[in-house]
């Protein structure tokens, strides 16, 4: 599976966990065993040391979502050890043992909640069995306290460390046969735990991809065409090599159209460019400055944001290319509506802007490649490197290294392929580091999109008709990556007369998933237009949302089921938290807006309070979040951080960011023209997790989408001006 279809296949992921995930977890990790230095592996995840230290493998890549701490918490809880005795190691990239290892889709919690607790429970059962054998009693006579097995009748104790060797002859029990702990007995789950690597982070220890060093390592920079995928026409390699410290400079032809995920889509092949390899990265950059590279013309070099907007208007005026949904009779319902609204919405391309620019270190020796990559998706990276370099995957090892931010960007592995290619060509270990400008010019952007709405309400404040003609990017019947919309997009299924239409235009710009892909854009348009209808109906927007959700608990069937009852619950909660009922008392120029959105299995409702000044400036004073991600918050410390960060991330994008395309290239190049929100603008974010009787789900993404329409709906409440295009600019709001 490639990163492109990560979302499309979420159902498959969930199914595979249920079907075969557990058996995989209990095959021995041969590498972990070989490196254990006398420690005894109980299974692929757990090793015990005689001193009682317990080493737990963190299976998934860490990019700031806290998964390196959270997943081991699940194992440690059921194993029954003190968190202070846990040592966390990064697992090898070994999907045969660990199942899929990736950071995406907020999937780590739903995929592992059950499985990894059972991993811990099996290890605990083996320790109990080993102790029972030694005491010549039945395992039923034994229990555990953190780090020790207790013989209940006599009170005798054995530490886990002292039982490690004896466990080797114990057959692991069937994980499904074990009873997991009553949540009331949790000692670790539900307790706030700082990230395992927090001390390394605050003292500046080497931790990130960019910090990797190898003996004899050289540094590389790689110049690619501003127009995506254009080939090198000429480059002054000799001039680059004349710079002190530069060892090599060479052109890479690349094959950008290779390995396309679908017809007419941009491939995942190596992008053409010029590599400069030097003793230091600064020397490599100085060499690159001398290249004077000329690029061949490229068929997409005339594309621009301006032309996309014109094309979208033309497409919207004509007959839609496809109609994924057509319930009831929209046109008749619009005619019969008490009030109708028409509106055109737009959102721009966005860059991921990970603070750590893309980088990767690779070492090619005796026909084998070793790679250290801050990737969210190591195994597909390994496969892509194998295909591109014509190697066998088994001759390539990918080490997962902490990434300085992921946000979906590192699901793609373009930097990994480039580093591998350059290292093999250079004949030395090489660290490839992109400049910030490279990073912004060669992203897999959040795709822009256009929505043309018509909607109607009746005199009682019900939505009677909903029509969205979505103009997006793609060719044939396929969308560009992350540029799609499904036929169940809310409020579909909640409005009797509902038509969703789609038209697409070709795109030469690479796109891909950005935190809450699809949802981060769709929430803005859907929830804004619902707010427009609420105001047309002269209704309280929050009450209007609750009414729209109807009275059923669940609408539709898995995997597209929508738990309307859970959404009503968070809407009511956020209304109470924010003092929504009293919003009429806010001073002039201030307002509150509400929005809700379901994504990544989480139900979120958010209220934003803004103050708008006559010069068009917007200050977000506070945001309230009510979240329903199920029965248990595993690590409240990390959970709160993810939600607060997602909210400010969404505000940052909505208020500041856009990538515009001109001449086939991205026009922005650094944080000077692609700003992130700074601390002086960041509001307080109050969060409440509603505990409901559903399995726990993830928090890396679902808090982000609703904050954007909560913001723009608040701006409308404050100013009477409807934001239908992002980012919000002062010009839009000037009095």
């Amino acid at each position: 599976m490639t990163y492109h279809d990560l979302n499309a296949n979420r159902r498959e992921i969930l199914t595979s966990v249920g079907a075969g995930g557990l058996t995989l977890a209990f095959s021995m990790a041969s590498k972990a065993e070989a490196q254990d230095g006398g420690l005894k592996p109980l299974n692929a995840y757990v090793r015990l040391a005689p001193d009682g230290k317990v080493t737990i493998q963190a299976k998934n890549p860490e990019v700031g979502q806290g998964v390196r701490t959270m997943l081991p918490m699940l194992i440690a809880e059921e194993l029954d050890v003190a968190w202070e005795d846990v040592v966390i190691e990064t697992a090898p990239n070994d999907p045969k043992t660990y199942g899929r290892q990736f950071a995406g889709g907020s999937m780590a919690t739903p995929m592992h909640w059950e499985e990894l607790r059972r991993v811990g429970a099996v290890a605990r059962a083996m320790l109990i069995q080993a102790a029972a054998t030694a005491w010549n009693c039945g395992p039923g006579d034994c229990t555990t306290a953190p780090g020790e097995v207790i013989h209940t009748p006599s009170g005798k104790k054995r530490t886990y460390g002292s039982l490690a060797l004896a466990c080797a002859s114990v057959t692991p029990p069937d994980p499904k046969s074990l009873t997991l702990k009553d949540p009331k007995a949790y000692r670790i789950i539900g307790k706030p735990k700082a990230q395992y690597d927090v001390a390394k982070i605050v003292t500046g220890q080497p931790l990130f991809g960019i910090d990797v060093r190898r003996p004899g390592m050289l540094y590389a920079t790689y110049e690619k065409a501003p127009v995506f995928a254009a080939k090198v026409a000429s480059a002054d390699l000799e001039a680059a090599k004349s710079v002190k410290g530069v060892r090599k400079a060479f052109v890479v032809d690349g094959d950008p159209n290779a390995f396309a995920p679908g017809p007419g889509q941009i491939g995942q092949g190596l992008m053409p460019g010029v590599a400069v390899v030097a003793d230091s990265w600064w020397a490599a950059r100085k060499g690159r400055d001398k290249l004077n590279t000329k690029w061949a013309d490229h068929p997409t070099s005339k594309q621009s944001s301006k032309l996309f907007a014109e094309q979208a208007k033309t497409l919207a005026a004509g007959k839609a290319q496809r109609t994924p949904r057509n319930d009831g009779d929209v046109d008749a319902a619009l005619k019969a509506s008490a009030k109708t609204v028409e509106a055109a919405y737009f959102y721009p391309f966005l860059s991921h802007a990970n603070l750590e620019p893309q980088n990767c270190t690779a070492e090619y020796k005796d026909g084998k490649l070793e790679i250290w990559a801050p990737t969210q998706n190591p195994e597909p990276g390994r496969q892509l490197v194998a295909k591109t370099l014509g190697m066998k995957p088994e001759d390539i090892t990918v080490h997962m290294v902490r990434g300085g931010g992921g946000f979906g960007r590192r699901l793609a592995n373009d930097y990994m392929v480039e580093a591998a290619w350059i290292a093999r060509e250079a004949g030395a270990p090489v660290k490839l580091l992109w400049t910030r400008e490279d990073d912004m010019a060669h992203d897999h952007y959040r795709p822009a999109g256009f929505h043309f709405f018509r909607g109607g309400v009746d005199a009682a404040g019900n939505v009677t008709a909903w029509h969205d003609h979505f103009v997006s990017f793609g060719e044939g019947t396929g969308f560009s990556p992350s540029a799609g919309m499904g036929p169940t997009e809310f409020p579909a299924r909640f409005v009797q007369n509902c038509r969703l239409e789609v038209s697409t235009m070709p795109l030469g710009v690479p796109t891909g998933p950005l935190r809450a892909p699809g949802s981060n854009a769709l929430a803005f348009v859907m929830q804004s237009f619902i707010d427009e209808l609420a105001h047309a109906a002269n209704a309280d927007p929050l009450a209007f949302q609750i009414k729209l959700l109807g009275d059923k608990d669940v609408v539709g069937e898995a995997p597209a089921a929508y738990a309307a009852g859970r959404m009503r619950g968070v809407l009511k909660a956020v209304g109470e938290m924010s003092g929504w009922a009293n919003r009429g008392k806010l001073p002039k120029g201030e307002g509150m807006g509400v929005a809700c959105y379901y994504s990544h299995l989480g139900y979120f409702a958010e209220v934003a309070h803004v103050a708008c000044s006559p010069d068009g400036a917007v200050k977000v004073k506070k945001v309230w979040v009510a979240a329903d991600v199920g029965s248990q918050i595993i690590n409240p410390m990390g959970a709160m951080n993810q939600v607060q960060g997602s909210v400010i991330d969404g505000l940052s994008a909505a208020l500041h960011q856009q990538i515009t395309i001109d001449g086939g290239r991205a026009e922005q190049s650094n944080f000077t023209d692609y700003p992130l929100m700074r601390i002086s603008e960041a509001p307080q974010v109050e969060v409440q997790f509603l505990k409901t009787n559903f399995p726990p789900t993830g928090l890396g993404e679902p808090a982000l989408p609703p904050v954007i329409p909560a913001l723009t709906n608040a701006i409308f409440a404050a100013t009477g001006k409807r934001v239908r295009s992002l980012p919000v600019t002062p010009d839009m709001l000037k009095a």
Binding site: V63, G64, Q65, G66, P192, A194, Q195, D197, V198, A199, I201, V202, T203, G204, Q205, P206, L207, F208, I210, D211, R213, Y219, K244, S280, W281, W282, A353, N354, L355, E356, P357, R402, G403, G404, G405, G406, F407, T435, R436, M637, G638, N641, Q642, Q644, G645, S646, I648, D649, S652, N670, F671, T672, L676, M677, R678, I679, S680, A682, Q684, V685
Partner: protein, 154 residues
């Protein structure tokens, strides 16, 4: 040519071109990789170090201009009376998400508290506004600075 620098109280030497930014001398030549590269144009603050106690963007300082100035990096903060308090607060509140910007944040926060032991919210915003956090941990950064300064957290 060879430059002798004072980094974290020790004399170290680097044989590099004079126009090499201090950031790259620290990271690639001297191995102080805690100082991070984010933008190269002084827009993100990830490369913040102290030069004679002042927070500076090391991506903008050619090594030839450093001279005898005392350079402190994140690796030196455990020995800094204010820096270690800031680090402790950062750990207690688990400020970081990805953690990439946090060395720069801690350097700016330490410089602030060294001069202004009890900063107001406005002073915090002003001193910290040059440091971007892509994960947007700003709520906790504010709280950690308050905690390190012994003030009540909002």
């Amino acid at each position: 040519m060879a430059y002798t620098l004072n980094v974290n109280g020790k004399a170290v030497s680097a044989d590099v071109d004079g126009d090499t930014p201090l950031l790259w001398v620290l990271r690639d030549t001297l191995g102080f990789v805690g100082t991070k590269y984010g933008c190269g144009v002084a827009a993100c603050g990830a490369c913040t170090v102290h030069v004679d106690g002042e927070p500076m963007r090391s991506c903008q300082i050619p090594v030839e201009s450093v001279g005898k100035a005392k350079v402190s990096t994140i690796e030196g903060m455990a020995a800094h009376p204010v820096g270690k308090k800031v680090q402790a607060a950062w750990m207690e509140l688990d400020v970081a998400q990805c953690g990439y910007c946090q060395a720069g944040q801690i350097m700016s926060a330490t410089a602030l508290l060294a001069k202004t032991p009890k900063p107001t919210d406005a002073q915090i915003d002003e001193a910290m506004n040059g440091n971007l956090c892509r994960c947007a941990t700003y709520v906790r950064i504010r709280a950690a600075i308050k905690r390190a300064s012994g003030q009540k957290e909002a």
